[in-house]
């Protein structure tokens, strides 16, 4: 890393902080993607109403977790 101190004199965040940040961001992206794709796939297999909400929520959780894990790993291998 070329820079250890930012413009405002803040020290560089630790590795764990990056991994956490990667996880949070991956989680957000994964949840958004899961909401999109989950809606389509749940509608396609014929879910409606309350069941549809549950299906979308499950897809969102799953893809959020997967994305978050992968992005946390991606952060982790580069610090």
């Amino acid at each position: 890393m070329p820079v250890a101190v930012g413009p405002y004199g803040q020290s560089q965040p630790s590795c764990f902080d990056r991994v956490k940040m990667g996880f949070v961001m991956g989680c957000a992206v994964g949840m958004a993607a899961g909401a999109l794709f989950g809606t389509f796939s749940c509608l396609r297999i014929g879910m409606r109403g309350r069941e549809l909400m549950g299906g979308i929520g499950k897809t969102m959780m799953q893809s959020g977790g997967t994305f978050g894990t992968f992005m946390a790993i991606g952060m982790g291998i580069r610090c």
Partner: protein, 203 residues
């Protein structure tokens, strides 16, 4: 991360490819370890599922819970072995497909940078969509369109999250955005406006 972001274009491909392979292998190892442990056939119970079963987790989960109660310590060691088998079989595969995705993605990204002469989010969105299309090319045009839409939407989400985070974080902690983005997307991300324009000159 910063010197990564400024990686000159041909070498970025190699870098992305390797990074994606590592990420896929480690992540695949984590997930397949869990999955292999849950789905592993146990000696004392009925075999609840094959290692390669890709079906919904919920169906396999109940049966796996049943057999887990039946399983003795020997069963646990069998499960660990199944988990190891799953990791050894699946994780390199996932790493390979990640590497293919990452390599092709950054190849197209670099080509777009060369052709358009600028780096912005549209580059990576376009290259995500094109990568999806190219990798699904053998499955016919419909699959190509679907896969391209998926890649494009995914990359757009990632880019959007990166931009949002940059804006949000630049107000609070100035060091945030440089690590808060997916590394393979970082090269094409736009340079954030105020505090980071001169930030790069610190190196």
């Amino acid at each position: 991360m910063e010197e990564y972001a400024r990686e000159p274009c041909p070498w970025r491909i190699v870098d992305d490819c390797g990074g994606a392979f590592t990420m896929g292998t480690i992540g695949g190892g984590v997930f397949q370890a869990i999955k292999g442990f849950r789905n592993s056939p146990v000696v004392s119970g009925r075999p609840v599922g094959l290692l390669r079963s890709r079906g919904p987790v919920a169906g396999g989960g109940d049966g796996a819970g049943d057999t887990f109660l039946l399983a003795s310590s020997q069963g646990v060691s069998h499960r660990l072995r199944g988990s190891l088998t799953a990791v050894k079989t699946r994780a390199p595969q996932l790493g390979g497909s990640f590497a293919v995705w990452g390599g092709l993605f950054s190849m197209i990204d670099c080509s777009l940078v060369q052709v358009r002469g600028k780096e912005d989010p549209w580059n990576s969105i376009t290259s995500g969509a094109l990568t999806g299309a190219v990798l699904a090319a053998r499955n016919g045009p419909v699959a190509m369109v679907g896969s391209a839409a998926m890649g494009g939407i995914l990359l757009a989400l990632i880019e959007g999250a990166g931009i949002l985070l940059t804006r949000f974080a630049s107000a609070q902690f100035p060091n945030g955005p440089q690590f808060a983005e997916d590394p393979s997307q970082l090269p094409a991300a736009p340079l954030p406006p105020s505090p980071f324009g001169d930030y790069r000159q610190y190196q």
